[in-house]
């Protein structure tokens, strides 16, 4: 790995003195860097209306029930996600958090009830159409395209918004070149945003675990979602990495995205979310601000166990 990089850098010096964004970043002063970060944020979310309609309901779960045979995994769950907030979805193991996620993103179809995005029911839309409608997600067990480079993984995300078809691709029509150029720029900006720009050229399967988690977030953001769903993004992280992740999630929200977060780590949930929904045995047992929920006796009994543990 290191040998490889040494080799490519030495050939690189002869080709272009710039050495790309990564080398450039290293040379920047603090102020230049901040200006550059603003640019990146702009490129990541070009037409997001920040703070315009924060507060209205972006996604609504209306009496959603999911059954597997006789097992009721989700029992008439209703809650809303407001535009611009970070909503935490918590609950003990097997409470139905991931099922809830899957019902939202079209992996399962609700047996009863509806999922509405901006007031319109998602109905029987195919999964890729739900992504285009504006819901993106990451996976609890990382599912990247291992043989692709990090950059290509993110470009696949941007492809959700692309219109290049087989004919334009076969004949290399101008649309292909325009879309490819924009996609690469944007994907690179996203990699920078999540902090792994220096690994852009590496294959996803060769990335360290933390970078893979970040890459999943970048790939999901590339689909230009209205709602970003993160399924246990901190699983397997050490405390320092969790801190960085919390900062990243906040930056994503500040950039104008709405975030749904499933997480086991109570510290992370309480520290980063605006509101929390608590599930137990497929039912919603509480909803509210983290501090309130943390003191709710039902939640404490069901999930937090020892009261002191709650907001620790």
């Amino acid at each position: 790995m290191t040998g490889d990089r040494g080799r490519t850098e030495s050939t690189e010096d002869g080709v272009s003195p710039g050495g790309g964004i990564v080398a450039e970043l290293g040379r920047m002063t603090g102020e230049e860097r901040r200006a550059h970060e603003a640019e990146v944020a702009e490129a990541v979310a070009p037409d997001r209306e920040i703070a315009v309609d924060v507060g209205d309901t972006l996604l609504e779960m209306r009496d959603v029930t999911v059954r597997f045979g006789g097992l009721v995994a989700l029992d008439a769950v209703s809650f809303g996600i407001r535009r611009g907030e970070i909503l935490g979805l918590i609950g003990p193991n097997g409470a139905g958090k991931t099922t809830c996620f899957n019902a939202m993103t079209g992996v399962y179809r609700p047996s009863q009830g509806q999922v509405l995005l901006e007031g319109r029911p998602l109905g029987r839309r195919a999964r890729h159409q739900i992504t285009r409608a504006g819901i993106a997600r990451t996976f609890q067990n990382i599912r990247l395209f291992g043989e692709m480079t990090a950059l290509e993984n993110v470009v696949v995300g941007t492809d959700a918004r692309h219109r290049t078809g087989a004919i334009s691709a076969l004949l290399r029509l101008p649309r292909l070149h325009r879309e490819e150029r924009e996609a690469v720029e944007k994907a690179m900006a996203l990699l920078e945003f999540v902090g792994i720009a220096d690994r852009a050229a590496d294959r996803a399967r060769n990335l360290p675990y933390g970078c893979q988690r970040r890459l999943e977030i970048a790939r999901a953001l590339a689909t230009e979602p209205k709602l970003l769903c993160l399924d246990e993004p901190a699983a397997g992280f050490n405390p320092a990495e969790k801190e960085e992740l919390m900062a990243l999630i906040r930056r994503i929200r500040d950039d104008g995205y709405t975030v749904l977060l499933i997480e086991h780590d109570m510290r992370l949930v309480m520290g980063v979310t605006d509101r929390v929904v608590v599930l137990e045995f497929g039912r919603k047992i509480a909803e509210g601000r983290p501090a309130e929920v943390g003191e709710d006796p039902a939640v404490v009994a069901a999930y937090l166990g020892v009261p002191d543990d709650g907001v620790a």
Binding site: L144, D159, R181
Partner: protein
């Protein structure tokens, strides 16, 4: 055992060195290597090099034509198997359809009673096979993995059985005098004959180059990325907004079109089509070419096809045991080098080289390094 490991490492290092050397060259330098190489490939049947020649057993230009034809088939099948990761065991069906369309439209034995020129027939043959790709793909591509493989196996058999049993397709009697491409020498004798392999070889090599360019264009675009994404993780691809069914059908259609084209070329060269050459074993041989060379890698697939077609022609003594030999070779390969002889990954971005140099400051990681112990915990491979 130690020798085993050493030779295994040796092969890997060699493949890696060659790959790194090639990807380290500039565009211009690559052309400098490619152009003489292509000229040499074109000249092969004329040069008839002493060690390489298949004579006296097989006419060398014919052997080269057969190898080139196999290479074309392998490129088409590689789109389906290598890029999109859809295991197709009935690819010979498309090849057969191409050959039969050419026969039906040009042979005097055909009940249709038409004798269209070959140049008209080739696009028709491709269109019909592409359509059959949609017909096969649309209902079956919701299946995955093994299930899809079994359905495609069935498709290949259906095509063969139709050829056996449908009266207008003439079963074993077949079609005589299937037309070839037009053109005559100065003395009036036709250029494309059943005995002269060289013009056919040149034609197929030219077609291969064209198909490689077009397939490469698809590969380095949204289409190729969608295919690889489906291959790597179909569910994740769909959730990232890839319309998977549409792109899988597209892969089938592209593969089918190339299969039909090679079928029409084959029918034209042999001049005769009957139900004998389209069995499952032929499908498996096509697949072996792709897997041997390295599924997903175009150069590897060309190499694999050459080996599969050339070895039985060159070493007549072992030709009878070719399935045994290829079978053993595949087992050995799967144990020691599961990604195939050349396992380099494909590039998936248009003008990706420039993009990586400009934005990242170093080239993308292309060459396969084999399984790395430090590879991620989460990624399923």
């Amino acid at each position: 055992m130690n020798a085993h490991i050493a030779s295994r490492a040796g092969v890997r290092i060699l493949a890696r060195r060659v790959g790194e050397w090639w990807h380290g060259l500039s565009r211009f330098q690559q052309w400098g290597v490619l152009v003489p190489l292509v000229v040499l490939i074109y000249l092969l049947p004329v040069l008839n090099p002493p060690l390489l020649t298949t004579e006296p057993g097989t006419d060398f230009p014919i052997a080269m034509f057969n190898a080139a034809r196999m290479a074309l088939i392998a490129i088409g099948l590689n789109v389906v198997v290598g890029q999109a990761g859809l295991l197709d065991l009935g690819y010979v069906g498309f090849f057969a359809i191409g050959a039969y369309v050419a026969a039906l439209l040009t042979s005097p034995d055909s009940a249709l009673g038409v004798r269209y020129p070959w140049l008209v027939v080739v696009p028709v043959a491709m269109a019909v096979t592409m359509l059959s790709g949609v017909v096969l793909g649309a209902p079956t591509l919701r299946l995955r993995g093994d299930y899809l493989a079994i359905v495609t196996l069935g498709f290949g058999e259906i095509v063969r059985l139709l050829a056996d049993n449908v009266e207008p397709l003439r079963g074993n009697r077949g079609f005589q005098q299937v037309a070839g491409p037009p053109g005559t020498h100065a003395d009036g004798s036709p250029i494309f004959t059943q005995t002269g392999g060289t013009p056919w070889y040149w034609l197929v090599v030219t077609v291969i180059i064209l198909v490689l360019v077009l397939v490469g264009n698809l590969e380095r675009s949204r289409v190729g990325r969608a295919w690889v994404a489906i291959r790597e993780d179909e569910d994740a691809a769909e959730i990232m907004g890839v319309p998977t069914v549409r792109f899988k059908i597209l892969a089938f259609v592209m593969g089918a079109g190339v299969g039909g084209l090679s079928g029409a070329l084959y029918a034209g060269q042999i001049g005769f089509v009957n139900n004998q050459k389209f069995d499952v074993v032929t499908s498996v041989l096509f697949l072996a070419a792709v897997v041997l060379g390295g599924a997903g890698n175009k150069v590897g697939v060309l190499l694999g096809a050459f080996v599969i077609s050339y070895v039985p022609d060159r070493f007549q003594a072992v030709a009878e045991y070719k399935f045994l030999i290829f079978g053993l070779a595949l087992i050995v390969l799967m144990v020691f080098r599961p990604q195939g002889l050349l396992g380099a990954r494909q590039r998936l971005l248009a003008r990706g080289r420039d993009a990586y140099r400009r934005l990242v400051g170093r080239p993308e990681q292309v060459v396969t390094k084999g399984p790395t112990p430090d590879s991620g915990r989460g990624v399923r491979t």
